[in-house]
């Protein structure tokens, strides 16, 4: 299978959040308890979390001297050279040839190196769970396996989340920018970020205005496990004992799940 990618177009997005709900529905993620709004505009929840794998941001900005309201979509970028996978000591995170970076929960020991390694600050940890796992967007790898498209892409009313071969998505992004050069910002976010990703963004405003990190280097950020460990703040090392405990728990889980390994979160 050719490498797939998602193309997210802020010019097409109407901020309806069908995607956010579809993602929770398909992935069986719980609603979070929120109050009023937890970020600018209508944003809720405040950030990605163990239960929220994708998030729409509402940004009041000035474009060419005029006020505008633009919507960004946060989720895993599905890096071509995923720093999270490189940092993972047990190979629980894995880049598929078809694009998605998947998480094999039965392998995970809960060390959270992946969280520190990810340049986009994507993976989250189920702190509230007795048997916690890492969660992040899977690009709906389970849907792709049977020829489907990601749930968020399927549900999007305006076609703001295109899905297809990565080469094709890059051509499409370029085409849209060429068709409307005064409307679009002339870059494709994800084309080179972190060595290229399988989630591409185009927009009418610079990407930092949508809440995306623009300080990510345009080459692979391959921290191996050791480097990732070095980056762990000293306070977190105190959790080592807990991690050991989780590992014990996990080995039992692996035992149970080994007959039917699943490629999801």
């Amino acid at each position: 299978m050719a490498m797939k990618a998602m193309l997210i177009d802020a010019m097409r997005c109407i901020g309806c959040r069908g995607c956010q709900v579809a993602c929770k529905t398909w992935n069986g993620r719980k609603a979070e308890k929120t109050e009023f709004f937890s970020g600018p505009g209508y944003q809720n929840p405040g950030d990605l979390s163990a239960e929220t794998l994708t998030l729409i941001t509402y940004n009041e900005v000035q474009v060419n001297g005029r006020f505008d309201w633009v919507f960004g979509k946060k989720q895993c970028m599905h890096c071509n050279t995923p720093a999270c996978a490189a940092a993972c000591p047990v190979g629980a995170l894995k880049k598929l040839e078809s694009g998605p970076v998947i998480y094999q929960k039965h392998r995970c020991i809960g060390c959270r190196y992946c969280m520190l390694a990810c340049p986009f600050e994507i993976p989250r940890f189920e702190y509230d769970s007795a048997n916690p796992y890492i969660t992040k967007c899977t690009m709906c790898a389970d849907r792709l396996e049977t020829g489907g498209v990601p749930a968020c892409s399927k549900v999007c009313p305006t076609g703001a989340i295109a899905f297809g071969d990565r080469d094709e998505m890059i051509r499409e992004a370029q085409h849209r920018i060429n068709q409307n050069p005064s409307g679009y910002y002339h870059e494709i976010y994800g084309l080179e970020e972190a060595g290229g990703t399988c989630v591409l963004h185009i927009s009418n405003v610079p990407f930092d205005k949508l809440g995306h990190r623009t300080d990510v280097p345009k080459h692979a950020v391959n921290k191996d496990t050791e480097q990732a460990m070095e980056a762990i703040p000293i306070v977190m090392l105190g959790l080592a004992a807990l991690l050991g405990g989780i590992y014990m728990l996990r080995t039992r889980t692996v035992h149970h799940e080994s007959d039917a390994p699943r490629a999801d979160g």
Binding site: G15, V21, F37, Y42, F67, P157
Partner: protein, 799 residues
């Protein structure tokens, strides 16, 4: 809609005014996005920078309740700068008709006003007729009393400056809006006008729509692909329910509900059937008798005979205005005993809902049929109420959701689309039709033992199979209509039991029955047309998809499509032809191709607007109670005087509670209500869905940074909003997306409140409708939810 959703891809300019399509009809944006990427310009006109505004190329703000001033200015701009499709206007509208000298307009009042009755004598607004009874025309459009000249005079008062002073629209944005939209006057450019409840929910809501229609007709945009006047209906299948006679004043198929005094069928028909002496007018409604008799036959079958006026006497007669507000006023006055609420939640959705909640307590019984326990069903235990003082007996029946039953859903574009049942309803939940059917069967049983006037119940046709669950296909077939006996119609033979192929063969002699004449053709002997899923487009490639589902009437996808051609049958815009006359067809006799035309006649044989007795579209009409032209009036409550005349608000609106009108000295801020994408109507479904509650958990008020600063309110603070009806608390969302308006040199603030919340369910909060007034549009009585006055202040935390 005159057109349909996919047709938006054919537009060069998309005007979204009175609609927040991105939030309330997100799927519309799929098609609007496509046409925008083709180079079309999308304009959003709204008091607030909405998610639709964010999507649009041009945004122009206006103060709530000033649509007419806004659009009349556009009309004037088109007239003054000759940006109109002159041939279209001359040939297809009543611009050339001469109007009686009795028509006049002075200081905000049309002639014929009776101040005591607060109504107009509309007979003064008549055409001048020639000796044959045909309206006189001046095709040069020069006669001082022709509609065109009267229009020029009427609209010239709305120059750009005046429109901006009233609406608060910034001149630069307004001029740009006028220029871009009126660019569609050219025959090969077309613009569509999308509206919704932002337009209708005003005391002059109907005239708002008329102003849009007038502009669209001047630009020659009606009947065209990518054009039209398009209502984005407020709920899924609300189109279907209005088609079926949801409103108090219509029967299925928009036949008039008979009123008291129309005691015989003939009296009713004399009133309802329009007449025309113009041989060029198709005057389609002359077929009225066929439709009403076929409907009566559907209701009472063999018991409806020529001898008993087809059981016409069984039809209830309206004894006045029984629209929503009137019903609740009557209920509040103790004049009603019972109420059925099917999927409706007036305790949240009704205007002045505090009063409506009180009214529910005066009923003997209340039946709520819904998916969840609604606020209405537990009105008796709302906060601050003592249930022991309420005697109403309440029944809550669990209903099946749309995915749990089979049937048709009609889109705003009039497409009747059949849906299959996906899953069984849970537990004891039942379909609405089953609930109604059980009730009817038991009523019939009860009436067998006698009762007052039992015949309408006992004789009512209820022929939907023997199962408790009515066979919904039989219902759909009944709507389509069938032959009750062998008959020859239009030289064609039909057998008893045959489904009618279309409404052209319905008869007034009792040989056909039809539950809704506009649905004739939807379920024929060839099968259920609305279940079709063929993705092949028509030869004109406009996205009509004629074999996808079915569309009323007669599968015509674009209404008034005869007007898309010049009088010889050639399309005004050959690139986007909807229909065209092909002389080669029918063995040289000629025929139309493309969409189903508005009638089969050759181009010259009939005028294009076949539903009007004139055969033409009306730029001037006496059908509305509040004037033949749309005139700007302020909402019932407004912070400013009417800059157009001494007549502050519409002179013919019915004011229920004169003591409940707020004054701008006490309530200086304009408020409006609306919905958000994440919640649905009165919230029963969405406020009980955790994923949606996560997104928008609490009721909030949107206000400008400017107003917030003056009031010392920060984002997230609790605020108290008060009106002459009531008060509510909400969280403040301080945003640049609202700005104060400059109205005739005066700074006017506006705020907005989504109205989804109530006291029942998972996410609760005060209802915005505690604030809204019991006043409605002069024609339809739709409540004025969209513009009223309030005060706003910071409030302490609430528990």
């Amino acid at each position: 809609m005159t057109n349909h959703f996919i047709d938006m891809t054919n537009a060069d300019v998309v005007m979204i005014c009175g609609s927040n399509a991105a939030e309330n009809h997100p799927i519309a944006m799929r098609w609007i996005r496509k046409t925008r990427e083709r180079g079309a310009v999308v304009i959003c006109v709204d008091p607030r920078y909405t998610r639709t505004a964010a999507f649009a190329d041009v945004y122009c703000k206006l103060r709530s309740g000033t649509d007419i001033a806004f659009v009349n200015g556009m009309i004037n701009y088109a007239l003054q700068n000759d940006r109109i499709h002159r041939e279209y206007v001359r040939q297809y509208t009543n611009a050339s008709f001469l109007i009686s000298p009795n028509y006049d307009f002075q200081n905000g009042l049309f002639s014929g006003y009776d101040a005591a009755k607060r109504s107009y004598d509309r007979s003064l607004w008549q055409y001048e007729l020639d000796g044959d009874g045909i309206p006189k025309r001046d095709m040069t459009l020069e006669h001082p009393r022709c509609v065109f000249q009267l229009m020029k005079k009427f609209y010239e008062r709305y120059d750009l400056e005046t429109s901006c002073r009233i609406t608060g629209a910034p001149m630069e944005d307004y001029r740009r809006t006028c220029e871009i939209f009126t660019s569609t006057w050219a025959p090969d450019r077309v613009g569509t006008w999308l509206y919704a409840m932002g337009t209708t929910q005003h005391t002059h809501g109907t005239q708002n729509i008329r102003s849009y229609s007038t502009l669209q007709l001047l630009l020659g945009n009606v009947g065209m692909a990518g054009g039209g006047v398009n209502a984005l209906r407020g709920e899924s299948n609300v189109q279907g329910s209005t088609d079926m006679g949801l409103l108090f004043n219509v029967l299925p198929g928009y036949l008039k509900a008979p009123a008291k005094g129309m005691e015989s069928l003939q009296q009713y028909l004399d009133d309802a059937t329009p007449k025309s002496k113009d041989p060029l007018s198709a005057n389609w409604w002359q077929n009225y008798p066929k439709y009403i008799v076929s409907l009566l036959k559907a209701y009472w079958g063999e018991h409806a005979t020529p001898a008993n006026d087809f059981a016409y006497s069984h039809l209830p007669k309206t004894s006045g205005n029984h629209s929503f507000i009137s019903l609740f006023e009557a209920m509040h006055a103790g004049k009603m005993r019972g109420l059925f609420c099917f999927g409706q939640n007036p305790a949240v959705g009704g205007p002045n809902s505090g009063k409506e909640r009180e009214a529910l307590g005066k009923l003997e019984w209340l039946v709520c049929v819904d998916l969840f326990e609604t606020d209405t069903s537990v009105f008796w235990k709302r906060p601050g109420t003592d249930p022991s003082g309420i005697a109403t007996e309440v029944f809550l029946l669990p209903a099946a959701a749309s995915m749990e039953k089979e049937g048709s859903v009609v889109s705003s574009g009039r497409w009747v689309q059949w849906r299959y049942k996906a899953v069984d309803p849970p537990e004891e939940a039942r379909t609405d039709s089953r609930i109604v059917s059980d009730l009817v069967r038991r009523m019939k049983e009860a009436y067998k033992a006698g009762g007052t006037f039992p015949d309408p119940i006992l004789h009512l046709t209820w022929d939907y199979g023997d199962e408790p669950e009515p066979d919904i296909h039989r219902v759909a077939k009944e709507m389509n209509g069938r032959f009750l006996r062998d008959a020859v119609v239009n030289e064609k033979e039909f057998k008893a039991g045959q489904q009618v192929p279309g409404f052209a063969v319905l008869t007034s002699d009792g040989s056909t029955s039809c539950g809704s004449w506009i649905y004739a053709g939807s379920y024929t002997d060839a099968g259920n047309m609305s279940a079709r899923r063929n993705k092949e487009d028509a030869p004109n490639g406009l996205g009509l998809y004629p074999k996808w589902a079915w569309c009323w009437p007669v599968n015509r996808r674009i209404l008034y499509n005869r007007a898309s051609c010049d009088p010889s049958g050639r399309p005004w815009d050959p690139k986007r032809w909807v229909i065209r006359w092909n002389p080669q067809l029918a063995e040289g006799k000629g025929g139309w191709e493309g969409d189903v035309p508005d009638g089969p006649w050759p181009p010259e044989a009939k005028l294009p607007f076949i539903m009007r007795p004139e055969g033409l579209a009306c730029l001037f009409a006496n059908s509305l109670v509040d004037g033949p032209f749309p005139e700007h009036y302020e909402p019932l409550e407004s912070p400013v005087r009417n800059l157009m005349s001494g007549q502050r608000c519409s002179p013919v609106i019915k004011i229920w509670e004169p003591d409940k009108i707020g004054d701008s000295s006490r309530y200086p801020i304009v408020a409006t209500t609306y919905r958000v994408s994440e919640h649905w109507q009165a919230g029963a479904m969405t406020r009980n869905t955790p994923w949606l509650v996560e997104l928008v958990p609490d009721v909030f008020v949107e206000l400008s940074t400017d107003l917030a600063k003056r009031k010392g309110i920060r984002n997230g603070d609790w605020v108290l909003v008060e009106t002459a009806r009531g008060s509510m608390r909400a969280r403040a969302l301080v945003t640049q997306r609202f700005e104060p308006f400059l109205i005739d040199g005066q700074l006017v603030d506006q705020i907005g409140i989504p109205w989804h919340w109530g006291f029942a369910g998972l996410a609760t909060g005060d209802s915005a409708n505690l604030l809204t007034p019991h006043v409605g549009d002069a024609n339809t009585m739709i409540p004025e939810y969209k513009a009223f006055l309030c005060s706003l202040r910071k409030s302490g935390e609430v528990a």
